[in-house]
Symmetry: C2
Subunit: 209 residues, 2 copies
DNA sequence: CTCCTATCTTGACAGTGTAAGGATATGGGT
DNA sequence: ACCCATATCCTTACACTGTCAAGATAGGAG
């Protein structure tokens, strides 16, 4: 899935330009992918609906039918991101010991994993006011994502608001600074060494430590 | 040679429109303040150079002479913000005990203070790609600001990269979540109770704890 | 076959950032 | 007193953006 998929060439390529089929087939998914690529390459500031449409090989107004406006596209992209974010935490938990403390540390590591692997989406989720969190699809996904960490804290024996805040803030701060590449001392480690250090840092916030 | 604009207050307030003097006097500072107000009221997404100029009562191209372009204005605003940010930490330190651990906790609380008091500037500093950190004025101010926390960690006995990362990540995560109003359990406390809780949370990351 | 609907295109409009050049004040030199 | 050099601010213009309105196109239901 590299370049624009020239699909459905019913008509023989008689035109000088590659004949673009009128109906894309799965434009919605293609636009979401193009949007993430645009964000990664050109940044949130330079993000433009028209660039996304051009990248998907489609007219500048085509996204409107699927997402309404630019905010709608970014809202849908952020909702998908929160679901992947939760999946990253679940992946760490599945590979960890089953005791509550280990599960909590694993969730935090998944939180950080996602921020390092998909910094563009992480910034869209937490550091942009363009997605509309009042849209149920995004609001529910977001609440589910960080409620998960709160639940893990409670399971690990956390009782106070301070316990929740400490774990969340530490995981979030690590993730944020790493996604922005501002923690060179940690971010430049190889993955294994980084895992060890991240785990040891997250453990500092554990309730009753 | 077009429709001559109503200008030039030779007579004192004789015109119906408020006579705008051709030379503002301190347009640069006025633009910085207007920019912060615009950001606070309408958000980073809706930020526009023209709106800032209109708020300062000046033509849409007047900012160019002082800041070059929109990025230049936001860069200058961010640089000022980092200096105020550092001042907030210094204020807390001056009011704290002089032992290294107390000074470190005080710095972290100043970090959080600023995020709560000026969330708009905090987000500009850490969550926007519009300021240009390659401009020396901003780059130096930013490095000085977070280097300060690292120095405090070392003074308090921190030896490892993990110590630095833990303290910075915890303070930054707290500040970020509070600036975005996502830690209701902490953010809704009265200032004194919040201070106590923030201090207790930051202490968890202290080296050797 | 006809018609309906979803999808995509084209064309238009207001608003934006920025560059180029003109207008205006301030102050220093004569 | 006059004149001009400079900094400051304005006007105009252009390319680009998001969004709306209306038309074109495909695929399927009847």
């Amino acid at each position: 899935m590299s370049a624009t998929p020239p699909r459905l060439c019913d008509g023989p390529t008689s035109q000088t330009t590659v004949p673009r089929p009128y109906h894309h087939g799965d434009l919605r998914a293609a636009l979401l992918q193009a949007a993430e690529e645009e964000l990664a390459e050109r940044g949130m500031e330079a993000f433009s609906l028209r660039s996304v449409a051009k990248r998907a090989g489609v007219s500048h107004a085509a996204p409107a039918h699927h997402f309404g406006d630019a905010q709608g596209l970014l809202t849908a992209l952020a909702a998908d991101a929160f679901r992947q974010f939760l999946a990253a935490q679940a992946a760490r938990e599945a590979a960890a010991e089953t005791d509550p403390a280990s599960q909590l540390v694993a969730a935090g590591m998944g939180y950080v994993d996602f921020a390092i692997a998909r910094p563009t989406l992480f910034r869209l989720m937490w550091q942009s006011d363009r997605p509309d969190f009042d849209v149920p699809d995004l609001g529910l996904a977001a609440r589910a994502a960080f409620q998960h960490l709160v639940d893990q804290v409670a399971a690990a024996g956390g009782r106070s608001t301070a316990d929740e805040a400490a774990v969340w803030a530490l995981a979030h701060g690590l993730a944020d600074l790493l996604a922005s590449n501002r923690l060179r001392g940690v971010g430049s480690l190889d993955p294994q060494a980084r895992d060890v250090m991240v785990a040891s840092i997250i453990r500092r916030a554990l309730p009753g430590a």
